[in-house]
């Protein structure tokens, strides 16, 4: 072969138009919203880790499209007449990815580990007299008083209870479990992981799906593809280009600016599958003045226009957001109109100014933490910052990165010692579907999450909710809670964001909910 022949061959290869780029059949290439940094769901509330956990781990109960718990790993359950003892029976042929069978003692150890950390798990644990595995198939829960919310607790998707072998579940929650052995439909492939860049999963051949139509995390979880690859692409324009060129199949969270481009592409679907979306909010720190006074927090409600926040964060397309949203996810059983006039009546900045003065606001400096590297929160913060200035708040708008914001949020100090007053945030809509899941409504003070609201009335209502078995009673209590929330104002709801996903039309069977890889077929 001559030198010129080699050059010609190289040039011909380079100039060949539109060559196929590394696509294998039955492989889904997915671009997650961020890199999978932590593998252990018990250590973090991060959504990327949750999405990873949903592939690798199965749960005793799943959640359907109405956000109701349904048996998943359990064949069924029995409840004693007094409602205090639950006996759960595992399905046949359940197996972990290491080939060992799933036994009741694995589930018990997993629940114990999870319940030390999860908010609802802790509430459940406080009510438990006994959690045991009387046989390989049976789990027994004996509560101090009836606990009808057990299936809900074990079906949680945000802060889910992953079932793992007892040898791993015995790890202290403060220590990360890095060996990923679950019993879900996909197996984690540690050898192919490149932190910050790629995560690989393979279909678990030993998975025995339950019968029934798949819906969210319930029903039959059948993997139709052999392999799923997560590719972290930090740059949004590059992710869009990779999707357009067919190098990847699915982009979890396309940014609003690029959605029109993707919508116009003949091979790409842009659709909202996570109907629970994300509930946006302005969160107060109730330890520091002036927001230690409920009347000051309440005064601000009269000037909030949720659509302003939603348009800034999600664009003008109303399919991607909803306004006039209260504390519970719209369209779910506990959503109600209690106190909603605070957000839906005529808006008046003058009223806000008067109410602030009446509430005792005297121009104290207010520190607002703004993560400028978090596009959605940055956009909402700009709207909020403008609003606070217009109503006469003496605002110190601090532009930071998300890492610094998280650290500052943990500070309970006064603002002159690094403390804070407010920040914009969002939580997965799914945690707002039911009062026990709703951590941001809790009023447990210093033991709660950032902002540390204290509300004895909310906690009393929540306690009553735990004992209420019938839906009408639960709905009444949820309405009471919302009315109380508009008095206490643990945060100001600023709307529901519905994030669409973008994916190639070669994918079909995508389920509603967070990114789920079972049931998806690739042409």
């Amino acid at each position: 072969m001559k030198r010129r022949d080699v050059l010609k061959a190289g040039a011909a290869g380079a100039l060949m138009p539109g060559f196929a780029i590394g696509q294998q059949a039955k492989v889904i290439k997915f671009v997650p919203q961020a890199d999978l940094a932590l593998l252990d769901l018990v250590q973090t509330t991060g959504l990327v880790t949750r999405n990873h956990a949903m592939m690798v781990f199965d749960t005793l109960y799943g959640m359907d499209n109405q956000f109701q718990p349904q048996p998943q790993m359990v064949a069924g359950h029995q409840v004693s007449d007094d409602g205090k003892t639950w006996t759960l029976t595992l399905r046949d042929k359940l197996a972990f990815h290491d080939g060992t069978p799933v036994l009741a003692r694995d589930a018990v150890a997993s629940i114990e580990r999870w319940a030390k950390v999860d908010v609802l798990g802790q509430l459940m644990r406080a009510q438990l007299d006994e959690l045991s595995a009387p046989s390989d198939k049976a789990l027994r829960f004996r509560f101090k008083k009836p606990f009808p919310l057990l299936p809900l607790a074990l079906s949680k998707t945000s802060g889910m209870c992953p079932i793992m072998p007892v040898r791993l579940a015995a790890t202290e929650p403060s220590v990360q479990v890095t060996e990923m052995v679950g019993s879900g439909p996909f197996r984690f492939v540690p050898g192919e992981r490149v932190p910050g860049s790629r995560v690989v999963y393979q279909k678990f051949a030993g998975y025995v799906p339950r019968e029934g139509a798949p819906a969210f995390t319930s029903g039959a979880k059948i993997a139709y593809v052999d392999r799923v690859e997560w590719h972290t692409i930090p740059d949004a324009a590059t992710a869009a280009a990779a999707l357009q060129s067919g190098e990847v199949d699915w982009w979890e969270q396309p940014i609003p600016d690029l959605i029109p481009v993707l919508r116009g592409h003949k091979d790409i679907n842009v659709q909202v599958h996570d109907k629970a979306g994300s509930m946006a909010m302005i969160r107060f720190n109730q330890l520091n003045a002036p927001f230690d006074k409920p009347a000051v927090r309440r005064a601000l409600l009269a000037g909030i226009t949720q659509s302003d926040y939603m348009m800034a964060a999600m664009g003008e397309d109303k399919l991607r957001w909803r306004d006039n949203v209260g504390f519970f996810l719209p369209g779910t059983p506990y959503a109600n109109d209690g106190g909603m006039a605070s957000l839906t009546s005529a808006r008046s900045l003058e009223k806000v100014k008067k109410d602030l003065a009446a509430a005792g606001y005297k121009g104290e400096k207010v520190v607002m933490l703004v993560p400028t590297d978090f596009a959605v929160l940055n956009a909402m913060s700009e709207v909020a910052g403008d609003y606070f200035k217009r109503v006469g708040i003496n605002l110190d708008y601090q532009s930071l990165d998300w890492g610094t914001v998280l650290q500052r949020l943990a500070s309970k100090q006064p603002i002159d010692k690094g403390g804070w007053n407010l920040f914009c945030n969002f939580v997965p809509g799914i945690i707002t579907t039911s009062p026990p899941l709703h951590t941001y409504m809790r009023g447990v003070g210093a033991k709660g999450t950032f902002g540390w609201p204290e509300s004895a009335k909310h906690e009393a209502l929540l306690d009553a909710f735990f004992g209420a078995a019938a839906l009408p009673e639960q709905q009444r209590l949820a309405r009471e809670m919302q009315l109380q929330a508009f008095q206490d104002v643990p945060y100001i709801p600023t709307g529901l964001m519905l994030q669409p996903a973008a994916y190639r039309k070669s994918l079909s069977g995508m389920l509603d909910g967070s990114p789920l890889f079972h049931n998806i077929k690739k042409a």
Binding site: P234, A241, G403
Partner: protein, 313 residues
Amino acid sequence: MFAYILRRAGTTLPVMAMVAFFIFSLLYLAPGDPAAMIAGDQATPEDLARIRESLGLSRPFLAQFADWSWRVLHFDLGKSIFTGTPVTALIGQRMEATVSLLVMTLITAVLIAVPLGVIAAWKAGSLFDRAIMAFAVFGFSVPVFAVGYMLAWVFALQMQWLPVQGYVPLSEGAWPWLQRLLLPALTMSFGYVALIARITRTTMLEVLQQDYVRTARAKGLASRGVLFVHALKNASVPIVTVIGLGIAMLIGGAVVTESVFAIPGIGRLTVDAILRRDYPVIQGVVLMFSFVYMLINLLIDVSYTLLDPRIRY
């Protein structure tokens, strides 16, 4: 010469120790907390305290620094707080992509820039010379990411000749490896070409005024020989200096380019670690970078003796 190299190598140790202390202190003083990053925005004080304790972050600064230094002296850079992977393994995993990118950029840039600079000097004042200088200004002015987007749009999306993103190791084939590197290397070399071409032109202009060049021409040597054999060799010391210093610039540029083209290299590792406050990774990578910089400087100094026999250490 050997004594000089030993002496220079000896001076790198205290410098690296200072860099290590500086970086460790900076991270300790800088805002941010890996425990807060792990726990997320729904954490309780209990969650944070539990994670901080397990990571050893609540220990005094000097105790943490002493522990880390002791491990470094034993060639152990620690483990990533988030993934639990040893930092040396993380660096090793990313090294190939970054080195490939830098080498490809360096080759592309030198092969384009040096001839352009030489010819521009040869044709000083001509349209070609002005075009090269205009390109140099353009190359300096356009940000790396803008060049990257433009090239990706043209060659990947419109023409579909090359992939948009990612990296394939050389072990999986030379052509797939090259395919993934072409656009990022071209992107990174854009500003670098401008820099080298400009310096080459300036240095060559000076050398071309020398008597020995005039003599060579008078003796009837071909222009190509005069330019590339006689003049270029004598102009090479400043050019090599710029190329060497440019490598430092390229490492900085790799951060942006690796992000734009989703290349899992050291640059992205650094950015991710900084954003997450993954202290062991940041410290390990910075320490490695400082070592690489010192090594490059040493190599440049040594190369002078090869290029100019008058230089002796």
